[in-house]
Symmetry: C2
Subunit: 110 residues, 2 copies
Amino acid sequence: MGATKTEFYTDEQNKLAILAKAIGHPARVAIIDYLLKVNACICDDIVNELPLAQPTISQHLRELKNAGIIKGSIEKNAICYCIDEKSLEVLQEYLGSITSKIKDKNSKFC
Amino acid sequence: MGATKTEFYTDEQNKLAILAKAIGHPARVAIIDYLLKVNACICDDIVNELPLAQPTISQHLRELKNAGIIKGSIEKNAICYCIDEKSLEVLQEYLGSITSKIKDKNSKFC
DNA sequence: AATTATTATTGTAATATTGCAATATATAAA
DNA sequence: TTTATATATTGCAATATTACAATAATAATT
């Protein structure tokens, strides 16, 4: 026990869960916010911005990257990270479809 | 170590992370999908729908409820769960603001 | 080549999550 | 009141996540 039964769910359900999970930590929300604020790619500035050690930031960046939320490219001797809006749109559209479905049906069930 | 440094982040960052985290498990995505499919409130039908034991479902429902994603009301001798679109909209709008910001700036940084 | 700066990896401790059996609770029906 | 039905709680084992120190790897600079 203890392990998620990934194989039971649809690919879409798993994909959405992976995306949401990646955003599901305040440090990673803060990283996303920071990447937006500075308008682009940042490297170890994040380490100075957040109260976390460099390996921890690196770990969070990897998780965001694995989920497809950010992408990184080599820039001089640093790595340049920025947001990949495509995957965020997937999640956004999912949420949008839910809220619009509920509104369409104007359901007042509970 | 091991504990998230919640107190450092803004309330909004923590709130968004809690919402996203709640969606960040395929079982909970499946529960949301099912609640939508049957168009309303469901009780232990979820237990028959998903490959998880009743206590596990109950636990996932509690997490969705704590995050404000679903709400439950007592209905006969069962409890009637359905989606509370308000909190999903918060997350949706956050994601929307990100993607539109990126598109506005038409940034090609990496 | 040695130094510096930036990011990644490894190992590990603390904590959190996932899942379930067993049990408890609560309400409806008999 | 007993029985059946639906949901919640507790306790526990397995697994995953979070965070960091130490170290490695990589690339630019001197």
